[in-house]
Amino acid sequence: MSMSPPRRPPRSLPRRRALQAGAALVAARLLPAGAASMDDLPGVRELTEYLAGRTAQFGRLALDIPRLADNGNAIPLRIAMRGPFAAGAELRTVRLYSEKNPVPLMARFDFAVPPAKAELDTRIRLAGTQRIVAVAELANGDLHAAFADVAVTVSACLDGS
């Protein structure tokens, strides 16, 4: 008895459309920079006070951090800013804010002279899944911001909370 090979369903237009929509969704997820705005920043009091109504630009500053962190006690993080930096608009300060940590301002970095490369690595501690914000201030007062969402499996601050 001969068996005919299973017939593959014809590649239909709805299927193709569904695939395209899926790909677009993935792309949108990977490239949030285009649509980022001040509304995406968490309403942390310390951050709001620092910004004091000023508007930050998005896209030039990049925040590189794992999307999923097993351990909130030490999460590697990289802040990088795309050049070129015009004269009088060098990188001066970078601040790191957390949405849910008991102390929202995690760190402040000051560059007394413009860094050779606008890149900085450190390891942070996070109390749970949240959004991290980096704000860079240039010598001319321009603000550049970047944010990233981190899912934290085991939060830091298990004690005393």
Binding site: N73, A112, D121, I124, R125
Partner: protein
């Protein structure tokens, strides 16, 4: 307690970026932990850390409880001349520490 490791490239060309990496042994106590008998352990973080290259400040950091214990930093400084890179820091307990490394400009 004050123990730190600085890593610099063996030599750099004048004008090139020096990759500076430093790791400091420090508990970075958050102030939210309690000890065995329920007393709060006082906050102790590296509030002020300065990096000087040939005597001039190039980088400064204020690390709060949101920075992991044994803080690690990596940044880039423009190479000018051979000289010393000195880190000095003070924590909330008032304890001071310093570490230094030689920059060789070829």
């Amino acid at each position: 307690m004050a123990f730190a490791r600085i890593q610099l490239p063996p030599s750099v060309k004048r004008g090139d970026p020096i990759e500076v990496r430093i790791s400091i042994r420090h508990p970075m106590e958050t102030g939210f932990r309690v000890d065995d008998v329920g007393r709060t352990i006082a906050r102790n973080t590296l509030r002020d850390l300065v990096c000087r290259y040939r005597g001039a400040e190039v980088f400064r950091a204020s690390l709060g409880s949101g920075i992991a214990a044994n803080p690690y930093l990596r940044f880039y400084v423009t190479a000018t001349e051979s000289g010393e890179m000195v880190f000095e820091w003070v924590d909330d307990a008032g304890e001071r520490g310093d570490a230094r490394a030689a920059v060789v400009v070829a």
